[in-house]
Amino acid sequence: MFRWLKQFLIGSPLDTASLHEQRLPKKSALAVLASDNLSSTAYATEEILLALTAGVAAGLMVPLYYAIPIGLGIGLLTLIVVISYGQTLHAYPTGGGAYTVAKENLGVTSALVAGASLLIDYVLTVAVSVTAGIAALTSAFPSLYSHRVALCLAGLAVVLLANLRGVRESAAVFIGPVYLFILSAYALVIVGLIRFGQGAVVPTPAAEGPAAVWNVALVFLVLRAFASGCAALTGIEAVATGVKVFQPPVSRNAALTLYLLAGMLGTLFLGVTVLAYLSGVTPRSDETVISQLGRAVFGPGPVYYVLQGATMLILILAANTSFTGFPRLASVMAQDRFLPRQLSNFGDRLVFSNGMALLSLVAAGLIIAFNASVHALIPLYMVGVFTAFTLSQAGMVVHWRRTRERGRGWRAAINAFGALATGVVLVVVAVVKFTHGAWLIIVAIPMLVLACRSIRRHYYDASRELSLADYEKPAEIRHTAVIPVPDAPNKMVLRAFEYARSISKDVLAVHVNVGDLDREELREKWQAWAPDVPLVVLDSPYRAIHRPLLRFIDELEGWRDDDLITVVIPESVGKRWWHHLMHNQTSLFLKAALFFKPKTIVTSIPYHLRK
């Protein structure tokens, strides 16, 4: 049943040999890796406007045309970051995410900071993207607003399932919505600017702000708007991290995709920002800026709904980039033993399914905790990504200093400028968004770094302990076999007796008496079938089965020196999947409790029921 459901949802397992067939051409890779970055054009402008209008309540009026120079500044920053990442792709043609670059050039601590920052950022990308996608839906259909958390979780489940089906299949699913969004967003910008030029779109009075008086509060507000708008840069690093999804020549294809992506991001982001200013659109809690622009440019007709539908889809699918980035980064860190090893294993469809499941779980937790609010999640968003940007570019500077490649001087200069620019933005973002939630990430990154170090220390200690260097063959193993038994003998239990006798001369049956059964009567019943096995009947005044049994096993451990306790658990195996729900619950709990006892071995003796 489970196997059928799994195959239905994610498809048949793929042969390891077909791994190379999972690589993507540029147009599909763009759909997989660009959705996060491009989707930010749907909310980055809104975040700038929201920050600029935040001072109104305090009597601080900021003209909305400030959004344009802020947008230009972000565009310039994008250019710097993209050129810097182009360098990274040149230097690390097999994939050079911030973690790898920092590890090779700056050391383990920097690598862990970069890795932790990116992992956190990927989780936030999923939470923000899905939440923003559902915000687009509830803008078009306000009656759905109260169901936004459930809708977000459903959207997340869809993206997870599509990704679990494999890279090629997820690309096939996502390519349509991504290109539909690119087309509709360009249509919005181009048609909007033309219609504004023709006077068909009339600006609202909000577009005309008073002249601002520069003071500390205003500077802070503008910096906050800039920091909020930097959300547009998130997702750029995904191309460098996800190089392995490209068909050969991977480095060249990845670089071309990166430049194409940056071009589209720059034009769409600036286009939407200019159009928002010209149209006098201001952020509203019940309708997104893109939705307002769509209504103003296209009217409330089918084109508007296509734009909203495409926006919703790209925002939800932006999470898809994280489903490529997070599991790959987690697998690299797991191979270095900084994360649990399960994260480095391919699933049935040659994707890192454990990483995807972990990503979904944490993102779902965030969506629920923040009540599916984009504005509450956004401030958490950029500290991680700019930390990774900065460390990656700084690592590249060290890389160029070590290499003898031609042009290393100007290449190092580009990366140094990139590191400086993103470092400054990181400080700005951390300061202006500190009280809005950025502190959470500033605390979470070092905690994750410490956790990674603890995981590695554990793996190291475990491998040393398991090493054969000081191996001494143990003396003959002596063990006492203990069989928990019910109040009456049956075939299943007698089979366990036979097994126990075959492994040990010391077999004990234990019954926990939760009722008021006569001890001697019980003993006689068992004596008839197993006269050679002593029966210990423990009383359970509080009716719990596990507690007296586990305590008895504890006591038994001290009975004989160098003794192991083997608990032989008889279990029935039903023919249908739902039969399992009606059997073995006690033994399941017992096995879980005994697992952590160092001198105890647990053996299950299954009895397969025929009906």
Binding site: D506, L538, P548, R551, F552, E555, G558, W559
Partner: protein, 85 residues
């Protein structure tokens, strides 16, 4: 390895009053002997806490009452069933 019923009865008769004298709530449950015939295990229980008392079978047979009592008291104190002196 199962003790004969007679042997079990004799051990029970010796130990049950001793345990009850130490703590009236301490009940004698069972006695077991391992396959080497060296280790005698006396299972007792107080409330929902089972206790396994460990005795050397060969020595037990000829052990004076006072020494047997002291051995059991020492073990019950180590397990927290009886207060330490």
């Amino acid at each position: 390895m199962e003790l004969t019923p007679e042997r079990k009865q004799s051990i029970r008769r010796r130990l049950e009053p001793l345990l009850a004298g130490l703590d009236p709530e301490l009940k004698f449950i069972e006695v077991i002997l391992d396959s080497s015939r060296e280790n005698l295990g006396v299972v007792a229980q107080k409330d929902d806490q089972p206790v396994m008392l460990r005795l050397d079978f060969v020595r037990y047979v000829s052990m004076p009452e006072a020494e047997l009592r002291a051995t059991i008291v020492r073990q019950l104190q180590a397990k927290g069933i009886l207060p330490t002196a």
